[in-house]
Chain length 256, copies 4
């Protein structure tokens, strides 16, 4: 059995599926609209247990999924969503011990996901030119205990990158085509390149730049997630859908 | 720079994007419709390089992505695809050092992905009642060097599972609702449950069984991947689409 | 050239694409948030012209499409949308001079579309058991000048229909499977049957009833409309989408 | 009851849903892979009846829907599909008695649909510069009895159109932006413009041309039809989907 430990990042989920992410610091409390939960009462409880607020409202004590972590990120920018993030991991072969680059940092949703995937022996280096963004991303990473795997660099990426043999590079900026040369020089031959853009014009511009800068095998796709109401006898798609987050473009740096 | 080493699993990609996955055993050769490549000529070459067959046809020497590995699996069953696999990893918080269960094994596409994600300190235990399936899955896992992280068990899962505190369980069988009790007993409180089914009737049946067996917070979704032709000045969605692989259902085992 | 005539139903569209549907009764006025338009000033103007409110805000004087009429319907129920309505017309071969049945009437979006398609020599008979619904539908039909082609009947359809040789029948009720026998008796052999339901359970129930009641060749589909922001240099899908209105089921009444 | 008449265009549908469209000329026969049907045996039968070939294989005698007519068109080009055609009718307010223009004619799927919708008092004028296309379209129209409502004009549309006050114009050519001026001059103020293009670059080019040539209120969308296997207890989306036919663009000609 798994019991909640001091310092654990846990998720407290109400009947309505709304949840709170909290770190179980001894002596701490969570104040909800349904009453208060004392962390000292939670520490030592089996994970999965129902716990009650002082007003007797029930919550479940769970560990969060990466999906839960990302949906709860503090953000001041559009974020990458788990439907895209999971596919990026597999498409770019992100794995233990790798060196992975990213620009921009944004609110850190991809940064977090990459940091999990490269493990304690890997390294994520994330560039952004906005200090406020990187502050926020750092907070988001610290909260989930992944900040020590990530190096944040404040930089106009037109100046290029310090790294030269990265395993993978994900580019999430409005004008990616302007930086394809810099990205190419930061990647090892045979590494992995990925990018997200919201418009079709950006895809076209990027495809031109990629073929110019020794990237081969471009692929363009879109991942659409459709949610269903989980009711056995009235099963149906949700009425509303986030229809578009962005198009994904992948390519491989080759040696010409 | 990264150079091809003896024993590396590499991908040789032709101009038409068709590729071959091979392990670079010294003395080996790859015979393609475009000519022969000798592995001794490839070993020591920088990854990303163009290499020529004896008929001077070019291939690129690359490391495969997980997407490439899965698309190349030997299969005798429907497989899970990267669009679903990546999301499953994030939604079920699959991570280093975990114990993850799966039934059935099938051709091993999820098995492979889970084995990568739990790392060398984790464990994947995969049940199936068909010996031919497990033989095939074992071959697929050996080829990518992940067989030692996986325990394959030949079993009618109606008899239950040997494990009791798994972090996550993915169920991919035609009648998942018949095994929800057994799965619940194999999972730790607060763990992660996932399932894939192709029909809406199966979703309904499973939702009923989940609520009966102390699973909470069910979610049902579908991940659709739309590919675009990567041509800058004639950008358009591909004409044909794999419109349906299956519906994903997730839930959390709770303690009542 | 086409000029606005007294009594015309016209559309006045603002720069923001919001629009007003009005009937140009002499002496009438339209009061908008951007100022007043006098109908006497509009009558005689060429269609497509820019017209100015007394505050000099511009509107365009246009004739409405069926899509515009339907989006502007007064409604107290879920309506059928043009993406579905247009396909229904072609799939059910709705044409001039036909007798077409419908239940329930709802707010009248399908009623209106059918009434247009059967023309002045055709007939739409629409059943509903809610008087308020039919009052609203009647108002909606009168406004667009189609009320005289439609007979509204207030009835619990479990009692059956007065008609026996209808060309087509569209059923839009929560439990369509309960009325398949009645519908069959109202339709001529070889006619057309259509239905809309929001849940997958309803589809399954209906398919069972259809095969029992001498309907052949069932088809089930869903029509999804994806809108794009019409900006030439930043072309992209809209962020949000009406992801689900309902599933369409079609079948043919045969003689056994 | 409706009985098959000499000269009727009917549909003979086999158990496998494959169908034949035939005109019931007295003395004629249909030879199928399942045996022969004599038209004299069909004339006078009630529509919806089962009829048997000389090998006792059953077919159903039905009238075809517009969807059936279009799927059976002889074609030597990409055609517009019912999912798009139906929406076009409503979005462009195609109705009885109108004058509607089209270029190019293609195989005539839109021509047929427009000819049905304008009725015997309306007129469809369709331009194409390929004689073979128009011959084929004419045959397709004659077969369904609609040729007399359609004028086919063989012309390079860069030269402009003979008409000046059309109610609606649908443009289906590879470079629609080159003809927007000509189209504008053929349309009445406040009429309806529609276009189909397969690539995003074409959308962008067209949007620029539309705003230059006094078209307002552009809309861009895509209609996706998802089919389900109609099996009550194993309901699921079809595996394969026609994922892309084209993007639809609509706009309104205004007077500036």
């Amino acid at each position: 059995m798994t019991f909640a430990q001091p310092g654990d990042l846990v998720q407290l989920v109400g009947k309505d599926q709304n949840y709170f992410l909290v770190t179980l610091t001894p002596g701490g409390v969570l104040e909800t609209h349904r009453g208060i939960l004392k962390f000292d009462d939670l520490i030592g409880r089996e994970m999965g247990s129902e716990v009650l607020t002082h007003l007797s409202h029930p919550f479940y004590l769970l560990s969060p999924s990466t999906d839960d972590l990302i949906r709860d990120l503090r953000r001041n920018s559009q974020i990458l969503y788990p439907k895209d993030l999971g596919f990026i991991l597999l498409k770019m072969a992100i794995g233990l011990g790798q060196t992975v680059l990213e620009a921009g940092t944004g609110s850190g949703s991809l940064t977090l996901t990459l940091a999990q995937a490269v493990g304690p022996t890997g390294r994520v280096i994330s560039y952004d030119q906005r200090e406020d963004m990187q502050k926020l991303a750092r907070k988001n990473l610290e909260r989930v205990g992944l900040a020590d795997r990530v190096t944040l660099k404040l930089r106009d990426i037109a100046e290029g990158f310090d790294e030269a043999e990265a395993d993978a590079f994900f580019l999430d900026v409005p004008n990616p085509w302007d930086y394809v040369g810099q990205v190419r020089r930061a990647l090892r031959g045979g590494g992995f390149f990925g990018c997200l853009v919201p418009t079709t014009n950006q895809i076209s511009n990027l495809l031109v730049a990629l073929s110019r800068e020794a990237f081969a095998f471009p692929e363009v796709c879109e991942i659409i997630q459709r949610h269903y109401k989980p009711v056995a006898d009235r099963l149906r798609p949700e009425d509303r859908l986030t229809a578009h987050t962005g198009f994904l473009i992948f390519a491989r740096p080759i040696i010409r």
